[in-house]
Symmetry: C2
Subunit: 158 residues, 2 copies
């Protein structure tokens, strides 16, 4: 399989990764969720080549994850804002943050704290079942093909 065939796979992971599974894209999204909007800031914070920033931002705009909004004329300049589809990626970033906090935080603890505005607490993300509201771990889940799935090895993790 080539990388650009991923989007055709009958798998939501593959389809998602075709868009965001790139080396730097998730780092750009991380910054977008921290409020970064402008080309220069993305580039400076990541310290990667400008061509990479250009290409990733264009892809994300083409996919509807980011939106280009002018913030001045003469010369015209744009900012990159998360769309609703982009905001839907928040759980992905939070899940990654959570894993990093848990397994790679130094002695000083997590480098970034997140406060839940509604309750005012510093928190971490917990995944629960949409139906019963109980926390879900890998061992609680049984996968089976839905419509349009390809046959393959399914089992239980662990």
């Amino acid at each position: 399989m080539k990388w650009d065939e991923l989007a055709q796979e009958p798998c939501s992971v593959a389809r998602s990764l075709a868009v965001i599974g790139d080396r730097w894209t998730l780092m750009i999204l991380r910054d977008a969720f921290l409020g970064v909007r402008r080309f220069e800031v993305f580039q400076a914070r990541l310290g990667i080549s400008r061509s990479i920033v250009t290409e990733r931002l264009n892809t994300l705009v083409a996919e509807g994850v980011l939106e280009r909004r002018p913030y001045q004329d003469r010369p015209i300049r744009h900012e990159y804002h998360l769309t609703d589809k982009g905001l839907d990626l928040h759980p992905v970033i939070m899940a990654i943050v959570d894993w990093g906090d848990r397994h790679y935080a130094g002695e000083a603890g997590p480098p970034i704290l997140r406060r839940h505005k509604a309750c005012g607490c510093d928190f971490h993300a917990v995944q629960v079942c949409s139906e019963c509201g109980e926390p879900v771990t890998a061992r609680d889940v049984e996968a089976r093909p839905g419509l349009g799935a390809r046959a393959g090895a399914l089992g239980s993790p662990g």
Copy 2:
């Protein structure tokens, strides 16, 4: 920044992506969570070059995400099992699945259904605040530097 400097960043996203942010690694983990254990099966399902599979599996073992367990002698053969650290990645995969299901599922719906064994329902993952238990979206979160963070642009998403 080079890819291999990511692990040194004071950021949990960067540190996590240094391990799992690779092109094929998350696809391998997807299969691991679906019960795939053996080299040949990973390789056949992904249809990528054997050297890539070798390299990714070795990295994941070195990082303690997968564990090599012998399942026979003469000749010695190993299976790759998710460790506890690996199982902790479940929310990451589920968050990615969720985004894909929401934005890229065809008319037939999601290609894979997941049942929560505890309640018996097909479900999708919902992220809630660890403190108050309410669902969390991007707009509900305020980030601020913790100990050891680097100064940078922080704001609110959207």
